[in-house]
């Protein structure tokens, strides 16, 4: 029989543990080293090839040599919208990470990025950014909270082999939306594959719809970004009628409609889609990850028509976590400058990166838009010229015409959420022959207005 003291002890232990659990002490604040050194976590892509990783590590070493008071730790991280907030709250966000243009302004408005605008203003090329591109990372007052590191414009990808099979000339792709419609019909009649396909889920439906609205000469948002124009701008209904016609009258859109960015690339790469709209730089993904036969690939610009058309642009921003301290922010901006922007502006870095990519059979020279100005861009192209391994001729219809197309930024308010609404609209049009387009747009407009109001 145990002694009474042991019993009391046991009871006490049990009580105290339970009590402590219930109390739930909060964690302490992160310590900052007093000596001014900073350690920053920077994001790198997951699944890098060993040589690419080695190259990255070499860059880190070079940076640390040049900046002895900064230590860089790599963290495999891919930003995704849904888990971002929990990452941020949970502290698993690296100090430096990349986000797409689409989310930049929203995150800035929400205070979910660090305000590094003053540090950015001190960079030598701070005022040389292409304004269309830079605005994706700017706050309301024009302060640059996130740095653009890559940009692209939308384009029409087409399958040259399917074109040939349908009796179309792959070297002269369609230049108007009516021609696209005809080509789609010819392809689907001749080959049984989808002549034209579009993304519809995971917010990509709204993204591509906005792209087409812009190409048709309209906008989904008022000029001052205070209200959506889904049911007031005629181009929106026009695009939906166009898609409806392709789907139900011509039946040239195949039988699968729940595409998102990854799955439409997959189906295109396996030869089931004649044409689709997506970011201009997709070639890399199509070839390395979806095993597209390079001979099949063609790229051309979106036809522009209507009153005030433009090309929707996209890209990538480098941003800093709002939880980074001042010292860490300074270090982070230095890293962004060194690693991301040097790849565009410093000849040695550019050549080295291109050489490495080419040696790993990754595409070099896929179409991009200039972050800075045209002159700098052309210089960049000349530096990578020896390593270009993409079929530039097949992309000529795009690269020749892209700089003449006016670039439009994505809508500024509640972008992703409005895209999500439009997903439903596009899906309804494509899956319901009797979809009432006006009603769908009125409903979407009402919901979008609520989002705009909520965003203030």
């Amino acid at each position: 029989m145990k002694s009474a003291i042991t019993r009391v002890g046991l009871a006490g232990v049990a009580m105290v543990s339970a009590g402590a659990l219930l109390a739930g002490c909060a964690g302490g604040p992160t310590e900052e080293p007093a000596d001014g050194t900073a350690t920053i976590q920077v994001a790198i892509d997951a699944g890098l090839e060993p040589e690419a990783r080695a190259n990255f590590d070499a860059r880190v070493a070079a940076f640390e040599d040049a900046n002895p008071d900064i230590t860089v730790e790599a963290q495999e991280y891919t930003w995704t919208a849904p888990t971002f907030t929990t990452d941020l709250a949970g502290g698993t966000l690296p100090d430096v990470f990349t986000i797409p243009f689409t989310d930049g302004r929203g995150l800035i408005a929400n205070g979910q990025l660090a305000d590094i605008s003053e540090l950015v203003a001190e960079l030598p090329y701070a005022d040389q950014f292409n304004p269309n591109v830079a605005q994706a990372g700017q706050a309301e007052d024009g302060a640059q909270w996130a740095i653009p590191i890559a940009a692209y414009g939308q384009g029409l990808h087409y399958n040259r082999t399917l074109f040939e099979a349908a009796g179309l000339d792959p070297d002269s792709p369609p230049t108007t939306w009516d021609e696209i419609r005809d080509a789609a019909k010819q392809i689907s009649n001749a080959t049984g594959e989808a002549g034209y396909a579009t993304m519809t889920s995971g917010n990509t439906g709204g993204w591509i719809l906005t792209t087409l609205v812009n190409a048709f000469g309209g906008r989904t948002e008022s000029g001052d970004a205070t209200a959506p124009t889904l049911d007031s701008d005629p181009a929106v209904a026009e695009v939906l009628e166009y898609l409806h016609a392709l789907r139900w009258e011509d039946e040239s859109m195949g039988a699968n409609f729940l595409y998102d960015w990854g799955t439409i690339n997959q189906d295109f790469a396996s030869g089931r889609i004649g044409m689709y709209v997506s970011g201009g730089g997709n070639y890399g993904n199509l070839v390395t990850q979806n095993a597209l036969n390079p001979d099949d690939y063609g790229l051309t610009v979106l036809p522009l028509q209507g009153a005030d058309p433009g090309l929707l642009g996209g890209g990538t921003l480098a941003a800093v976590s709002p939880k980074a301290s001042e010292v860490e922010q300074a270090a982070a901006v230095k890293w962004i400058d060194f690693y991301y922007l040097a790849k565009l502006t410093d000849e040695t870095a550019v050549v080295e990166t291109a050489e490495l990519a080419a040696s790993l059979d990754q595409p070099v020279g896929a179409p991009e838009l200039p972050i800075f100005d045209q002159a700098q861009f052309e210089q960049y192209q000349s530096w990578i010229a020896p390593f270009v391994n993409v079929p530039v001729d097949q992309m000529a219809p795009y690269t020749d015409a892209i700089f003449d197309q006016p670039l439009i930024a994505e809508p500024r308010v509640a972008t992703q959420d409005v895209y999500a609404l439009l997903d439903t609209v596009v899906q309804a049009v494509l899956t319901d022959r009797n979809a009432d387009i006006q009603k769908l747009l009125t409903d979407a407009q009402a919901q979008a207005e609520a989002l705009y109001t909520k965003a203030g």
């Binding site: 402590a20 002490c25 699944g47 949970g90 990854g262 799955t263 396996s270």
Partner: protein
């Protein structure tokens, strides 16, 4: 015909050996040719249906794992019109690293199993055998959690993992983040409790009379008697851990730690169809192999070991 001969004939016809062994159909029923024939035919149809429906998709996956993409897309039911493509499996294994993710899945399942068995047996023991006065309150509180949809817990649970009390250190990207919350499974606790309720009290009394303290009682008496229910709990725990998808996706950010369920949908974005199907096939081989080997345990656990009676 003698009684023995009758039984032999009956058995050969598929009937039960003794009348006490019977189901809906008695031995008399089995003797009638119409009943026998109808039953046979029905069973054959059932078997064929089960093969097509249950085994079919799995076999198709196995076939497609070694078929090139174009063949799978153009002629999905054909058997290798253009030959097999074993490269798919190799690519899946090397580039996609299925072995690593499978290993992670196993580790997670083992940890979850241990935690659940520990919590359920100790809790079941206290609440059912030792029965403190406040036991009923605890049981009610545990039961109440069954009615809360698990998605309610998602965000607060995540924040608890991120900032655990007592530990000044996040548990994100550690397997503990998946193991520890698994213990809070009301279903398992109640299952074990009910089982212990059904054990004869006399054995416990006798043990107590013999001088066994509560620990001895647990270790030497209750635990050995609880093998059936531990088997059931184990099956549920392992299967549950294997299937878990949303929670590991949230807490295991590092791809090196992710289990198959989290990684496979993400991989679909990155690889071509034939390699993807090969990856799916590899991911399925091991659970199926385990099932075939441990069939009896799976099926008795799945039948709840008779714990759910009429």
């Amino acid at each position: 015909m003698s009684a023995v001969d009758e039984k032999v004939v009956a058995r050969r016809r598929g009937a039960p050996a003794k009348d006490a062994d019977r189901g809906i159909l008695s031995t008399a029923d089995w003797r009638r040719r119409r009943v026998r024939a109808t039953t046979r035919v029905t069973h054959l149809i059932l078997l064929a249906s089960l093969i097509v429906v249950g085994l079919g998709p799995v076999l198709w996956l196995a076939k497609s794992a070694v078929t090139p993409t174009q063949d799978t897309l153009r002629q999905p039911l054909a058997l290798w019109p253009n030959g097999m493509d074993w490269e798919n499996l190799v690519t899946a294994w090397t580039r996609v690293e299925i072995d690593k993710y499978f290993f992670n899945t196993v580790i997670i399942a083992l940890g979850v199993w241990f935690v659940q068995v520990l919590v359920a047996t100790t809790a079941g023991y206290v609440l059912s055998v030792l029965r403190p006065r406040y036991g009923r309150i605890i049981v009610a509180l545990v039961l109440a959690t069954l009615f809360v949809p698990s998605i309610v817990l998602l965000v607060p649970l995540y924040l608890t993992i991120v900032d655990p009390p007592l530990l000044q250190h996040s548990l994100i990207n550690t397997f503990w983040a998946v193991w520890l919350p698994a213990g809070a499974s009301a279903f398992t606790v109640l299952l074990v409790m009910r089982f212990f309720d059904s054990l004869p009290r006399e054995v416990f009394e006798a043990a107590r009379i013999d001088g066994a303290g509560p620990y001895r009682l647990f270790w030497s008496v209750v635990l050995p008697m609880s093998k059936p229910i531990v088997g059931v709990v184990s099956v549920f725990a392992v299967i549950g851990a294997w299937k878990d998808f949303l929670w590991p996706m949230l807490v295991l950010k590092d791809p090196n730690l992710q289990p198959l369920s989290v990684r496979l949908p993400q991989l679909q974005q990155f690889i071509e169809l034939d390699v993807f199907l090969a990856a799916l096939a590899i991911a399925t081989v091991i659970p199926i192999a385990l099932f075939l080997v441990f069939q009896r345990m799976f099926l008795s656990g799945a039948g709840l070991g008779g714990a759910v009676k009429g």
